[in-house]
């Protein structure tokens, strides 16, 4: 029978939640790396027992951990992220130049085919790659070397490269997203990059339709249809049907089109999920009701999913990497909150229940479906 393993990163450690395919009873393991911020934990699609974790601390900096046994044991690997060449400057919040400076790894994206190859998205925004299982890291300098980079400004969380999406049917095609620069695409394995922000409109920036400068929060793709992308932007839920060349808004009837995560159903590429959040700056669910919204039409028409979720006095947030789906049928959907709950639905979002209620603030949730 299939099994499900959930990899949870929190402000104070990592947790591994496991269940059989019924997804009714869960075993909780952790905290791993207690006391450290775990921005992301993700498994290799080519070897599910190979996991990588980004561990960081304001005191002791960045550590990368690797597991070869599905998270039972871990070993620290390379943590040396050095920008290629002279780093130059980007813009600070006040518009003055500021040198690029490494802060942390936000996102780790293992290769679809090689367990020893993975990408790291870092703050200040850059893309790194390791081809030796995380022992050594090299920047893909074309990303940060893009002509627009000196004009990039940080979002509230810092100038972070937080999303990396690998196209399974076009080897060498990579999408990344940076707050607050936007989406970029490479078609040559990360050597050169083009902005992919046509159609985005951000009223908060001097030129709302600028080529670069948008606060993209998250992008998602269904493996079977890699030319279609979905985006949760600082405001607006967007969709591209041409691999990012152009975007159109599909916020439709959402109660607010602000939010962080967005994900796609494992078997229905037109079924997508978001968690609307109130903003500016409140960053909690509207009306104190935690609702996942599902569209079965690829956007525009949304339904609130509320069964099993708190519908009063709920003021948690759901961060950009804190939602994921499993590959079982019916599709399981999972998300974690800044209040420390991890919620699961084993029926594509119709009904929800917490797996755990009292973890540290959840930063990331990834799911592995195991044989």
């Amino acid at each position: 029978m299939s099994k499900v393993r959930i990899l949870v990163g929190t402000r104070k450690g990592a947790f591994v939640l496991t269940s059989d395919g019924t997804r009714k009873r869960w075993k909780v393991s952790g905290p791993h790396f207690g006391g450290w911020e775990i921005y992301h934990v993700k498994g290799s699609p080519a070897d599910p027992n190979r996991l990588y974790a980004s561990q960081s601390s304001g005191w002791f900096g960045q550590v990368i951990q690797r597991s070869n046994d599905g998270g039972k044991t871990w070993e620290p690997v390379g943590n040396k992220f050095v920008y290629d060449g002279v780093p130059g400057t980007h813009l600070w919040y006040d518009g003055t130049p500021r040198p690029w400076e490494f802060a942390r790894v936000w996102h780790l994206e293992p290769s679809l085919t090689d367990p020893d190859t993975l990408y790291a998205g870092i703050q200040d925004a850059a893309l790194f790659r390791s081809v030796d299982g995380g022992q050594t890291w090299q920047e893909l300098p074309g990303m940060r070397g893009h002509a627009s980079a000196p004009s990039w400004q940080p979002g509230a969380g810092g100038l972070c490269l937080h999303t990396i999406v690998l196209d399974p049917s076009h080897p060498g095609r990579i999408f990344i997203a940076i707050s607050a620069a936007g989406v970029f695409r490479s078609d040559d394995a990360g050597t050169t990059w083009r902005p992919m922000n046509r159609g985005l409109k951000s009223e908060q920036i001097p030129d709302p339709t600028a080529e670069v400068g948008h606060c993209v929060h998250r992008i998602a793709m269904h493996r079977s249809r890699p030319g279609v992308l979905f985006m949760q932007k600082h405001w607006d839920v967007m969709r591209s049907d041409d691999a990012g060349e152009s975007w159109r808004e599909v916020s439709g009837n959402l109660p607010t089109d602000f939010g962080f995560p967005i994900d796609v159903h494992a078997h229905e590429p037109e079924t997508i999920y978001v968690v609307p959040i109130k903003s500016d700056s409140e960053h909690y669910p509207p009306e104190g009701k935690l609702r996942v919204y599902r569209s079965r039409t690829g956007g525009n028409e949304w339904e609130a999913l509320t069964k099993g979720l708190p519908q009063r006095n709920c003021y948690v947030n759901v961060l950009r990497d804190a939602m994921a789906v499993d590959a079982l049928d019916p599709c399981g959907v999972y998300f974690g909150t800044t209040g420390g709950q991890v919620y699961a639905s084993a029926d594509a979002g119709d009904r929800w229940a917490p797996i755990v209620r009292d973890l540290p603030s959840v930063v990331s949730v990834e799911v592995q479906t195991l044989p």
Partner: protein, 99 residues
């Protein structure tokens, strides 16, 4: 023989209990102590001093006895009591509260 006391999180990371005892080549300085420490425990590289600049991380402090050595140069000799192993060299996470 130099005795080094690491903060709890770095002891966990390096899988060590209690003090670390190091044989240091040449004069006992911060640089020679950290070179020896990182050679034995490579996972500590970058956690106390920067990989490239070798500067002390901002929220890490160094003490010996009651003396604050945080602002000593990396090649300044350590106090005799540390060099002779009578006193440990303390690596301390700054008292910074935290979330």
């Amino acid at each position: 023989m130099i005795r080094v006391v690491l903060p709890a999180h770095l002891r966990t990371l390096a899988h060590v209990d209690g003090e670390v005892k190091l044989d240091v080549e040449g004069p006992a300085t911060q640089r020679s102590v950290f070179d020896a420490l990182e050679a034995r425990y490579p996972m500590l590289r970058g956690t106390i001093r920067d990989h490239v600049t070798q500067q002390r991380r901002a929220f890490v402090r160094f003490f010996a006895g009651e003396q604050d050595l945080s602002h000593e140069g990396p090649d300044a000799p350590l106090p005799d009591a540390v060099a002779l192993g009578a006193e440990p060299f303390l690596v301390v996470g700054a008292m910074a509260g935290g979330g």
